[in-house]
């Protein structure tokens, strides 16, 4: 079922990594199933939050969408253009439209470049705004949009002279300077102090409003999701187990994994405190995935068929899908 008006479509995307080389004793190559069949659609101007624990494949999905990792199987369609196996030239043109904000602002800035050089570099590389004045103007605008005002104070400083929050604003500015249509933010606040997180989240929300950018917001913290995402997709072991409008998923979670995640978010009001579902055991090894539903070894409500067959994705409510045998709904 392909609806062409979608801005970004991901079909059955898979990315496997080789785990070591095939040894002398085992001829079989072991593979890490980092993403294992992800379906995702995004409308123009929409923000989707991708939630999951560490190692569930969120970041790999981001890198694959960026073309920094080659997908093993599946398709990616962006602005009505198949980009799954885009060649180098198409990919470079794409980079103007898809930009990424990385997790760690301490590591993602080159220590030997000034802020001005860092933000101007994408323009230089893509040969945009060739006039000196125009380029400077765009750099200044991007910095000020990212909340670094007045920009002139920052242009000639080096990353080590800025705080973590300021650095992340620089990272955002250097993504914005190309005026992308899609911004992939890979845990943009997890390395920052709690006091600064809200500022950066506000900044992203505002950019989305003023610039009409679609954002894929990757996080392991369901608490920040309700903040500004239109929809939320919950990932578990390389697959999206539940996706729906943020309010609906938060209020009425369908998948037992989502329920467990939500139940451990601290609620300030003691009267509203819920029963916590603490998941038992570790996340299974993504090399040897459990058969059936991949969540069944940790699922508090697993039944026998969960161990045998993989649950289909069902529609519980309009635009609200979950992949669980216990969710009643119609198959799409």
């Amino acid at each position: 079922m392909t609806t062409p008006e979608y801005f970004l479509e991901v079909h059955e995307l898979k990315k496997y990594f080789q785990a070591g080389r095939p040894g002398i004793f085992s001829r079989r190559t072991r593979r890490v199933h980092a993403i294992d069949g992800v379906d995702l659609c995004l409308e123009r101007g929409e923000t989707i939050a991708l939630v999951g624990e560490s190692g569930c494949g969120k970041s790999t999905l981001a890198l694959t969408l960026m073309g920094l990792e080659k997908p093993t199987a599946g398709r990616i369609i962006f602005e009505a253009e198949e980009i799954t196996h885009a060649d180098e030239r198409t990919r470079k043109a794409l980079r103007q439209r898809i930009q990424m904000v990385f997790q760690d602002p301490y590591e993602s800035l080159n220590p030997t470049q000034t802020i001005g050089e860092i933000v101007a570099e994408p323009l230089v590389v893509h040969g945009l705004a060739r006039e000196g004045g125009e380029r400077q103007g765009r750099v200044v605008r991007a910095l000020e949009d990212a909340g670094l005002k007045p920009a002139a104070d920052y242009l000639h400083r080096y990353p080590h002279q800025l705080s973590g929050g300021q650095r992340q604003r620089v990272v955002i500015a250097s993504a914005l300077v190309l005026e992308p249509h899609l911004l992939i933010a890979d845990e943009p606040v997890s390395m920052l102090d709690v006091s600064i997180r809200a500022e950066i989240l506000n900044l992203l929300a505002e950019l989305r409003r003023t610039r009409q950018i679609s954002i894929i917001f990757i996080t392991h913290d369901l608490g920040t999701v309700g903040y500004f995402a239109d929809r939320v997709a919950v990932m578990y072991l390389g697959r999206i187990v539940e996706v729906g409008r943020t309010k609906e998923v938060l209020k009425n979670p369908q998948h037992p994994y989502t329920k467990a995640l939500l139940s451990v978010i601290p609620v300030p009001n003691p009267r509203l405190r819920r029963e916590r579902v603490i998941l038992q055991g570790e996340t299974p090894n993504p090399i040897d995935l459990p058969g059936g539903c991949r969540f069944h070894p940790r699922c508090p409500v697993a039944e026998e068929r969960c161990q045998q067959d993989e649950p289909p994705r069902v529609t519980a409510a309009p635009l609200h899908h979950a992949a669980c045998w216990l969710v009643s709904g119609k198959k799409p």
Partner: protein, 342 residues
């Protein structure tokens, strides 16, 4: 300005270190036994006046320092010695005039001998360093670029092998090989060529330099390749390289604009340290190829107990090491903006 302040601070430290080495170096050779006069004492034909004359000639008749017996250099006056008339102050005073004393063995000024020898050494290590740096860096970049392929492993193995070869052994092997191919095996120039035209003279020197330079290049090439490769691989794993890729830079741009400048930092340190120490460290190469350089001079002087030359050479080496480190610091402040704010 912060930068100027940083440079001045570094410069001040260098001057202080040189002064310290100078003092230490002076006493080091005064503590050692033996001087030319005493060496001759055993010869019954040597008259007392002659011994005195030798002592005066080399300035050994004066006290080393005032109150040397009490080992208290700050106690002036009471020892009946004018501090300005001691060996130490005469040495320091002469040093400022560029006079390093007179060689016990050849009776020539040390400064003259060392200048000649230093020039030969600089010729050798200069060419060797330039070759090994350029080849090593290029090979290191290539290996890192082709990381974990057969090319990479080949480069890794070769560099490790080259690095661990004993210098003198490699020198001897190349010496045999070179002599079998008609290359000169000893010295800097063929005797009797001083009347040749300048171009031919230089050609002769270059032919003599070929084997020692090759030895030097091979030994240091391995080190530079290994450091460059691992440093570049470290930098290539950084997040800002991924960011640069996401921004649309191609491999060449990433290497040029982001990776190399950061990966050069460890190499600069090693090059600087090597530059300083190789002034003395080419001793093995110079001994094998009878190259008339500083290392050779040290070797000969140790055998002859020619202390003034050793003292001068040690000072020269210390100054070279300190200068090389100063240059490394300055290069650092240019390459890495974080250095200045520390």
């Amino acid at each position: 300005m912060k930068r100027t302040q940083y440079l001045l601070k570094r410069l001040g430290w260098s001057v202080f270190t040189i002064a310290f080495v100078l003092v230490l170096n002076f006493f080091l050779f005064r503590v050692l036994p033996g001087d030319p006069a005493r060496a001759g004492v055993h010869d019954p034909r040597l008259k007392q006046e002659a011994v005195e004359a030798i002592r005066v000639r080399f300035g050994l008749d004066k006290p080393v320092i005032n109150c040397f017996e009490s080992l208290n250099p700050v106690r002036f006056g009471s020892c009946d010695v004018n501090p300005l008339e001691t060996q130490f102050f005469i040495y320091v005073r002469n040093l400022f005039k560029g006079d390093l004393g007179i060689s016990y063995h050849t009776n020539r000024p040390v400064a003259e001998i060392l200048a000649e020898r230093l020039w030969n050494t600089i010729l050798l290590i200069g060419l060797g360093q330039i070759l090994s740096i350029f080849l090593g860096v290029a090979l290191g970049i290539f290996a890192a670029w082709k990381a974990r392929t057969a090319i990479d492993y080949g480069a890794l193995l070769t560099s490790l092998l080259a690095w661990s070869l004993p210098t003198f052994w490699l020198g001897i092997i190349l010496l045999f090989w070179g002599s079998a191919h008609g290359l000169p095996i000893a010295g800097k120039a063929t005797p009797g060529t001083s009347s040749w035209p300048l171009m031919q003279q230089w050609g002769d020197v270059l032919r003599h330099m070929l084997m020692p330079t090759l030895t030097y290049t091979i030994v240091y090439l391995g080190e530079y390749t290994l450091i460059m490769r691992s440093s570049l691989l470290d930098v290539l794993a950084e997040d800002y390289i991924l960011t640069a890729k996401a921004k649309g830079l191609n491999t060449f741009q990433i290497l040029k604009d982001h990776a190399l400048k950061n990966a050069m930092l460890p190499l600069v340190t090693v090059i600087a340290i090597n530059l300083g120490f190789t002034v003395a460290g080419v001793l093995q190469i110079e001994a094998v190829f009878s190259w008339p350089g500083l290392g050779g001079a040290i070797y000969e002087s140790v055998l002859r107990r020619d202390y003034p030359i050793l003292q001068g050479a040690f000072l020269l080496i210390a100054v070279a090491v300190i200068l090389a480190n100063l240059i490394a610091d300055l290069t650092y402040s240019y390459l890495d903006p974080r250095v200045q704010s520390e």
